[in-house]
């Protein structure tokens, strides 16, 4: 049977890639060492598949069709199409895992979730940046899962936590012996393209970290639902962290590091939920 061996979260700000060569040395060093640490921890778990939750950034979806949750079930996915990602991935494709992706889809439907699905998705910077900075020699197959965090209404934090629990159950019900790592990307606070752009809401970030460290699901759900109405729009991406938290059944949270990072316009955070053997 498949097994969840790790759950992680990491920021994915576009400026990490767009401005990499011109970032201040301290910023680039911080990003290098922290994402290296994340990569080291993920690689040490020898994952066969990465199930990565992120949000589309107007690459795959427009207002004609905005799925709340979408699972990539294909054997292969397209790499990031954004111009600032081209020097990194240069039009390459990402290996998918059709077997696990299809299983997650079917399990979700049986569990009364109703995700959309795609046989070929464009994996944008939301997934591309953490994978790039983690530095895989050989990238394991990826099952991309998108949450709509672009155009409201969004899935509630409560629903995202429940989704995470469901994903854990689905992984552990998959008959093949696979070591699976869940990763949620995005956040922490940021404000993009709105009148408060550039605002990094440190109290929000620390409150999120405290919730993941200490709080039960119902408190995380209610507090995030309240807090997200009072912070910048990019804070919505903490829902991907909620998925990772749910997948870990709320256990073993450890912050790898956090820093408010004005150059990338985000509160930059990376975290691990240690899964009991």
């Amino acid at each position: 049977m498949a097994k969840l061996v790790g759950s992680f979260a990491a920021s994915h700000a576009p400026n990490i890639a767009r401005s990499w060569d011109t970032l201040q040395d301290d910023t680039r060093d911080w990003l290098t060492t922290r994402y290296d640490e994340l990569g080291k921890r993920v690689k040490a778990l020898e994952p066969d598949v990465l199930v990565i939750h992120s949000n589309d950034h107007w690459i795959n979806f427009f207002l004609e069709n905005m799925p709340a949750f979408l699972i990539g079930v294909g054997e292969e996915h397209d790499g990031p199409p954004e111009p600032f990602m081209q020097p990194i991935f240069n039009g390459c494709t990402f290996p998918g895992h059709a077997g696990l992706g299809s299983h997650l889809l079917e399990f979700a439907m049986e569990a009364d979730f109703d995700p959309a699905y795609s046989h070929r998705i464009k994996v944008d910077h939301g997934i591309g940046i953490p994978l790039w900075r983690m530095g895989f020699d050989i990238l394991p197959p990826v099952v991309p899962v998108f949450l709509n965090l672009m155009e409201e209404p969004f899935p509630t934090p409560k629903r995202c936590l429940a989704w995470g629990h469901m994903i854990r159950q689905a992984i552990e019900a998959y008959p093949e012996d696979l070591r699976v790592v869940v990763l949620g990307t995005g956040g922490l606070s940021h404000s993009i393209g709105e009148t408060t752009m550039g605002w990094i809401d440190e109290p929000f970030d620390h409150a999120c970290i405290d919730l993941f460290k200490n709080a039960p699901d119902d408190k995380i759900a209610s507090e995030l639902a309240r807090m997200l109405t009072e912070t910048g729009n990019g804070g919505a991406e903490v829902r991907s962290w909620s998925v990772a938290h749910g997948a870990a059944d709320g256990q073993g949270f450890e912050m790898i590091d956090y820093i408010p990072m004005p150059e990338t316009l985000i509160g930059c955070g990376l975290a691990e939920w240690k899964i009991a053997a």
Binding site: N15, W58, E151, I192, G193, E194, T195, T196, G198
Partner: protein, 92 residues
């Protein structure tokens, strides 16, 4: 209030030639979308204040980049439309 056509226009400018198209063929591009006269005029005049309430923020971010605004200029332009309540929230 989301304006489908205004967002559609910005969404479809995301290609590599978007900036060139917008700079050199703006009137022709505007004619392809069923924009209200007010929104069409806002696009012609780079009237960001009129566009903010109807364009998704992430598309607005792209739109400003496409206009050639760096982060500092984007922040300054958007900040000029902050409400007092927003200003208080950001400044603690």
């Amino acid at each position: 209030m989301t304006d489908y056509w205004a967002n559609k226009l910005v969404f479809e400018l995301q290609g590599p030639d978007g900036r060139d198209q917008w700079t050199n063929h703006r009137v022709e591009i505007l004619s392809r979308y069923a924009l209200t006269p007010k929104i069409e005029q806002a696009f012609i005049n780079d009237d960001i204040g009129t566009l903010i309430p109807v364009i998704n923020p992430y598309l607005m971010r792209f739109f400003l980049l496409m206009l050639g605004y760096d982060d500092a200029k984007s922040i300054a332009v958007l900040e000029s439309f902050q409400t007092e309540e927003q200003r208080k929230r950001v400044n603690g």
